[in-house]
Point group: C2
Chain length 478, copies 2
């Protein structure tokens, strides 16, 4: 039995233990290199092996997901030492668990034969997940090792792009005919050595493969054996199609508390299923990728990626922000004469831009979330505009007053304070209107409002805030 | 059978249909108010009722989660009209599904009797979720309506704070004794009318309630009836304790692909279970709350909250940012003389602050994620510092060169260009060092690095960027 906190502790302790063993191993290696006497070499070689044997034992006891986490936590050289110690039959599973960036470093270290062997333990839907990272000749070797049926499954699984139901789908379905009794089903099941994970229901099909209903295992257990499948099967259920969005399927799993759901083709024939563990992995990956892109990283970065790879992963975002910063800089450039006369403007202007940027991002966050939940219609969009304008007006009075007071206290100039208050109020108004309008417009144009809306609002509130503040100052103060 | 895209379409269509019906209903209401003739009134009253009857039919056909989404999408007045049409026995389930903010608006509309009735359909762990929002006297009424065993469960469920395993736990466990055969178990199950959702395994306990093992339903089905439970039950499994972190449990469900896991007390006795649907809901809520706090919202805001409530939800974040903006403003204030002499500095300084802020946030994002995955140790922290310093140096050369060139092209002053390049490089270095140091320090101090690290880095890169750029300019140009 495993305790959760043991398991959590263990992740960290394992990492430390592995680092320790690797460190000893490296020490010995460097000794061996220095002292080339044959006897010395022999002794050190044995000690050296001892560490690796201990390391291997530790790895064998870990779940593949935990080995994957360990590999991600190690710098590349040490990562590959550990990877060499992993048993060949576990390599496939572990490759599935590591992040894309780390997977590439591992695959680069394996020869074709090893790679083909690693995939042999995997299901076709799992091979499809690895396929994009495999060298061409390896992939062809893998295909040759499959049965015709598996080859067809692999082709099917690979034909659906990431982010679709097809990409989440597996083929581990137990389907039963609709014209049998519960007793027959139970006998059939007992002949199987084991059932696929996450089999909470059997899929009932007719002679042509058409999906007719679902028979939950739990219902099967409480039904009298002589009952016909058709009389106990569920008819009200959700079926998925492979080309549908994974995000929508995830939403349905969450709303309807599903463990598995059937996937059917256009003619209603059962082709696979989606399970909740695929959905959980999908949600976690989406969350991570949203978090990364919100933080300006293009993709999940290997913690120990080379400097050059990291720079490339981050440059798009920096370049976009540089362009918006240049624009804002030119807006300020328009008012250089005013700043030369009242230099306090330079010190005060970042306040206006910063606060309206924050406020705009608050609005965007709320609207993007409501859009994702499908809660916005033409009818309530108007109410949302009205509400946000109300909020920004009130905020304008409150925060405008505070910043105006700040300006007055520092520069003892009440006109400057008034301009500051007015500029803050107007900038907040701009931020709130654009904060609603940008995501709605992106949605209407078929773009994902979660991507890029934040950059746009910041660009607008920066340049807009500078323009409003310096413009008002030029009109009223200069 | 339901198609996924029907279900998605439906969410939106339902919202539109409901809005339409509500609109007609309101039109009729206003007519009735204007024309008080008794006959007219009667006719209009009938039409009016017709709309509501249609609306009610529509609502009855929807899943509670879909009704919840609908309620969240409606302005408060319309929301309450719809809420009144919901059948009493479904109110409890729907209250569980709506967001906290919307739940409060619904509960405020119900009298004590209705509320007690709504909770009657719920399990004790669900009542515990609602409890904080119930008026005191209602809650006491609910307690009185429970059996002693349920009361004990409710007390237990409520004793664990949000974010713990105890808060995710339910009590729908089927436990079996360890000294029986599979046949006995099957007979026992067949006597149940139905099994709880997400029962993928039975919990095997001894005479004292100690958890001895798990019997997966799927294994039960493929085992010969005469076999003893002890010989087929699983002994290697994860058990949770109620006081452990929900986050860790969610991680374990993800890593080990679980559908349910037992919860035991300190003496190893079975007290409940956690199911994957509770975990999925938890992950979604955590994601939403991370997204909201990253966007500067304290909590999930009712889309149609009053202006005043929204202002309060958002003010903390704005206040914190105002303070950091004031500090940055005073840093600029130190260099007003330099700006008065070279006004171009005012236009260029936001570029330095902005880009180093973005770069610092990229580093923070990566480190916070690695910390969450437990991938950082004392040994590799040094390597991470080295890597980030390398990245920022290279970025400093690239982006420093670009901004230097920009400054030179606009102001035809190569010294200004050089200062710009140097300031960019130094600010990026500051951003990278602080981007690693801040989350590591927060982790060491036992704070959540996901909260607040981003505000801190932005404050430092703003003030620091201004200081470095204006300082260098003062030394070399003025």
């Amino acid at each position: 039995m495993t305790e959760l906190d043991e398991s959590r502790q263990r992740v960290h302790e394992n990492l430390q233990r592995v680092t320790e063993l690797l460190h000893k191993h490296e020490l010995v290696e460097s000794l061996v290199h220095r002292q080339q006497g044959p006897r010395q070499q022999l002794v050190e070689g044995l000690v050296h092996k001892l560490h690796l044997v201990e390391l291997q034992k530790l790895l064998d006891a870990l779940h593949p997901a935990d080995v994957a986490n360990l590999l991600e936590s190690l710098p590349v050289v040490q990562r590959l030492i550990v990877w060499d110690l992993v048993k060949a039959e576990r390599e496939g599973e572990i490759l599935l668990e590591v992040s894309d960036a780390v997977r590439q470093t591992l695959i680069a270290d394996m020869d074709a034969q090893e790679l083909v062997a690693a995939t042999e333990q995997l299901d076709t839907d799992e091979i499809a997940d690895l396929a994009p990272d495999l060298p061409r000749e390896v992939f062809q070797g893998v295909i040759r090792s499959l049965s015709p049926e598996e080859r067809e499954q692999l082709r099917s699984a690979m034909s659906y792009p990431e982010g679709t139901v097809g990409a989440l789908m597996d083929f581990d379905v137990i389907s039963i005919r609709d014209d049998v009794t519960v007793e027959v089903v139970l006998r059939y099941l007992r002949r199987l050595d084991e059932m696929p994970d996450h089999t909470d229901q059997l899929f009932v099909v007719d002679g042509t493969g058409q999906l007719k209903g679902l028979l939950p295992i739990n219902r099967l257990l409480v039904t009298r054996p002589k009952t016909l499948v058709t009389t106990v099967m569920r008819l009200d259920f959700l079926k998925l199609r492979p080309q549908e969005k994974a995000e929508d399927a995830a939403g349905a799993f969450e709303r309807y508390d599903l463990v598995s759901a059937p996937v059917v083709d256009d003619r209603g024939r059962l082709i696979g299923r989606v399970t909740v563990n695929a959905v959980v992995d999908y949600i976690r990956e989406e969350t991570a990728s949203d978090m990364l892109s919100a933080g300006g990283l293009r993709e999940d970065e290997d913690l120990f990626a080379s400097v050059w790879k990291s720079v490339r992963n981050r440059w798009t975002w920096l370049a976009v922000n540089l362009v918006t910063a240049f624009i804002a800089s030119r807006v300020i450039g328009l008012f250089e004469d005013s700043i030369a006369r009242i230099v306090a403007l330079a010190a005060l202007m970042p306040i206006i831009a910063g606060i309206s940027g924050n406020s705009g991002n608050q609005t965007i966050t709320m609207i993007v979330r409501a859009l994702a939940l499908g809660q916005i219609t033409a009818a309530n969009a108007r109410k949302l505009f009205a509400k946000e304008i109300g909020v920004s007006t009130l905020n304008g009075l409150i925060w405008g007053g505070v910043v105006g007071l700040f300006a007055f206290l520092i520069y003892h100039n009440w006109q400057l304070g008034l301009v500051m208050t007015g500029a803050m109020a107007l900038s907040l108004l701009l931020a709130s209107v654009m904060g609603v309008a940008i995501p709605l417009a992106m949605e209407k144009l078929g773009r994902d409002p979660a991507q890029g809306a934040s950059v746009m609002i910041t660009a607008i509130t920066d340049s807009g805030g500078f323009f409003i503040f310096l413009g008002l100052a030029t009109v009223f103060l200069v």
